[in-house]
Amino acid sequence: MFVSFATGGARRMTMTAAKSKKLRHVSVAGLLAAVLLFCAASFTMLAFSKGAFDYRALLFALLLCAVTVFAYIALVLIAPHADRCLFILVAFLVILGLTVQYRMSASAAMHQLLMTLAGYAAMLGACAVMKKAAILKYLSIPFAAASILVLAALLFVGKESGGAKNWISVGGTLVQPSEFVKVALVIVLSAAMARDGINKRPTVRELVPSMLFTACIAALLVMEKDLGAAMLAAGVFVMMFFTATGRFGTTLLIILAGAAAAVAAYYVFEHVRVRVEVWQDPWATYSTSGYQIAQGLMAIASGGLWGEGLGMGSPSLIPAYRTDYVFAVICEEFGIVFGVGLIAVYAIIVVRGVLIALSSKDGFRSLCAFGSAAFIALQTFIIIGGVIKLIPLTGITLPFVSYGGSSMIAFMTFIGIMQGIASANARELERELDDEHDGGPDTAEDEP
């Protein structure tokens, strides 16, 4: 149902523009109401769960609803053709994340709410900028240079936190620049790979610089012990490379090279070896390195199908319960069925992102939207897969849900990019319709 109203209803608009518009608004209002209701219900439960009635939980919920509605209205004002359904799904994830954060610590949730505000601002900003995407194209070289400089500088001035040396302190708060490098990477790669015209594609030789750039970024991230981010950068590069060139053989070759690098890392780095061993059998080293995975699995198993109930679990037993392991906490308290629902929400967000990319005629914009969706898809897969022991664990955030400002702002920027492109797509379509029918979209209604 979500998919059928994809990308501003672009295809339907040619048939019955006004009708499809109306339909979309109705369904989206219902969805928005449902999400706000979820917010109200879960915070009401939290208000009751701590013995004495906690009225601040209700205030927090009210504030959160206001922020959500405000961001929604602002988005629609800036970009009337933005994908509203996409926004509401993201808002749901944000509300879920804040619910879980509030359940664990009210003050942390307050901080995260501020970060959410910053995130929404970043989304609106990115959306506005994306309307003039051409500017970004020219900024890609500075972006690339800045990314490498910042990551290189981190090697010397970076602060270590959570095992990775990739934080810097800005006015007292720790910022993780690698999160923003993700955004820069998508823009730089899109600019390098985009060719106008449907059947034009870059040659492999033309893409060597962007390959080197990605390798450079990944190497720097590995040196900072941020394996997850390195894997992501490499993965997104491969996906964008395939999309831009369509070369199965070369893509396979790059994947094989990546696999060889991963095997080499296994033998060279002790911490990579430990990760893999722990993945194979977390119980063997329960008291040391296997503790986190084992605790996560026990948390998910304790929740069962329907969960222990909000506020009834023991999330703090798991290390990194606010950030990397928030999925295990959600499964424990909300249940596996909810967890699978959450996976579905991410899937729909990614699908809508790719559909936006598909309906863009502009090569650069299309790749930007695709890269953003690919980042969300890959990051979600890597962290949830790690938590449920499908793949070795690498500590990265669950987009929109984990505690952390840098990640929130970066992923909101991705959403902003998608929204801006969705809006641009719709305007382009409108213009085409105008040309065809020598009138506005309103006259399209008269068509049979």
Binding site: M298, S302, V351, A374, K389
Partner: protein, 488 residues
């Protein structure tokens, strides 16, 4: 060759990845969830223990095995021998063993309660009480089995091969549940090795009980195995350096002594059986013929058969934590020959052996072992009888039954016989030390061929002597007691 096509391909990849996540999450929780939940590491369970009064545990006849007193502390049956006999079944609450108290903590502590019940607890000051459960085991029978193990180390497991219900599971040495409170501070020191549930997790050398596996391999891979006549010449010889089989005349001198640099595989008591059919060789537990069969089959086929029967695998039973046997691939003739008769590095757990016997008795289907009979008033009954796996074809099962019947009527298992019933079984005498002063482990695995009393049993008594003289009579007594208890 355009961008849109590539993007659609990637879209399919993304959807696949997400489907994989969701599918794997369901799969892994379905397969391992109960294990992880019941893990002694899961402190969520122990923290719930202080908030909820745990329910009672009873046996199939209603005998109270574990309960909670007014203060919520755990109390166990006052009958000391029964307490020791059922210790591994009930399980301690201190993370040393995984028994009913942790496997079924979900019910005992009310983790499966609905949202309404949970909310009620949240608001009421009263301590909530978990559900009572009844187990499939017969505490009286388990106590009797435990008493027969007496001072020996060993284990007995008895299962209904039609339903998979575990009726008895006793291990010796055992520990006292009532004294476990003193375990943490060192005031109670149980006998070394007493926390091991030998029936489910004891990794033993199987000796001749492994011939069940070799027979199945022969049925599968040797042409005319059932009609062929095998010859036992009393000795198979090997060269030590290469491990290759050599002619007996090379290795053994005229007086029957083995020459330096060679070794010989002989039968128990140096018996020479002469010409036997496969069935007779099984009944008389002829090592020479079975070692010969192993050599004829080769390591690959024997290993493939062993793995199809559960060895080297992983048992995922939701109501019993159990290990499989192990078959290590032999590298030369010497190792291959000995692996065919249950020595070399062969490992079997009593439960793995019992699963094979149950499959033979039940037309090839091994049932999933079950310990939970009912939860609460029975409105939420357990899953019911369930086929774990078809281990044997109907023909293989029938032939194994005949082999095992012959073993008891005129072979090594004669002392397992019960008047008025057809008992089928296999003995095992597992050499566990090159020192002759150390006695072998005595094994008996078998069943009663009866629709009314479909009981299969596995007995292992450590360092006690031969299977036929030590384990078979114990099995016979326990089977007899099981029939008696179910007649009244």
């Amino acid at each position: 060759m355009n961008r849109a096509r590539n993007m659609r391909i990637m879209l399919a990849v993304f959807i696949l990845l997400f489907a994989l996540l969701a599918g794997y999450l369901f799969y892994i929780i379905d397969a391992y969830g109960d294990y992880w939940f019941a893990s002694p590491y899961n402190t969520r369970v122990s923290s719930q223990r202080s908030a909820v009064t745990a329910g009672d545990i009873r046996d199939r006849r209603g005998v109270l095995l574990a309960s909670s007193d007014a203060q919520g502390a755990r109390t166990y049956t006052a009958d000391e021998e029964m307490r020791l006999a059922t210790a591994h079944i009930v399980g301690d609450g201190y993370g040393q063993t995984i028994g009913a108290q942790s496997l079924f903590a979900k019910y005992l502590l009310g983790f499966d309660a609905g949202i309404a019940a949970r909310l009620e607890t949240l608001f009421s000051k009263e301590k909530r009480r978990g559900d009572d459960i009844a187990l499939t085991v017969d505490a009286e029978l388990t106590k009797y089995a435990y008493s027969l193990l007496a001072e020996n180390r060993g284990t007995v497991m008895l299962m209904n091969y039609k339903t998979g219900e575990v009726l008895a599971m006793a291990n010796s040495p055992s520990f006292d549940l009532e004294a476990m409170a003193g375990y943490a501070d060192g005031s109670y020191v149980p006998v070394d090795g007493s926390f091991v549930n030998r029936a489910a997790m004891g990794r033993y050398t199987p000796g001749s009980t492994f011939k069940i596996v070799t027979v199945v391999a022969a049925l599968r891979y040797l042409p005319n195995a059932t009609s062929r006549v095998f010859k036992c010449e009393g000795c198979i010889a090997f060269e030590n350096s290469s491990g290759e089989r050599v002619d007996v005349s090379v290795a053994v001198d005229a007086d029957g002594n083995v020459r330096e640099g060679y070794s010989a595989l002989r039968d128990y008591g140096n018996e020479i059986h002469g010409e036997l059919t496969l069935k007779e060789a099984f009944a008389h537990s002829c090592n020479n013929i079975f070692a010969g069969i192993a050599l004829e089959l080769g390591a690959d086929k024997l290993m493939k058969t062993a793995e199809s029967l559960g060895l080297n695998g992983e048992y995922i039973f939701s109501e019993l934590v159990a290990y499989c046997g192990e078959y290590d691939k032999p590298n030369n003739d010497y190792e291959l020959a000995w692996s065919g008769v249950g020595q070399y590095k062969d490992i079997m757990t009593p439960v793995n052996t019992l699963m094979l016997v149950c499959a033979a008795a039940n037309g090839g289907d091994a049932m999933t072992p079950r310990l939970l009979m009912k939860v609460g008033d029975g409105s939420r009954a357990s899953t019911g009888a369930e086929v774990y796996k078809q281990l044997l074809s109907a023909g293989e099962a029938a032939f194994l039954c005949e082999c095992m019947e012959l073993t008891v009527t005129e072979g090594t298992g004669a002392r397992a016989a019960l008047e008025g019933f057809t008992v089928c079984g296999k003995t095992g005498t597992a050499e566990v030390s090159s020192n002759d002063a150390v006695k072998p482990h005595a094994w008996f695995a078998g069943f009663i061929d009866s629709a009314e009393y479909p009981y299969a049993i596995c007995v292992v008594i450590e360092n006690a002597g031969t299977g036929g003289s030590v384990a078979a009579p114990v099995a016979s007594k326990i089977l007899n007691r099981a029939i008696e208890l179910n007649q009244s």
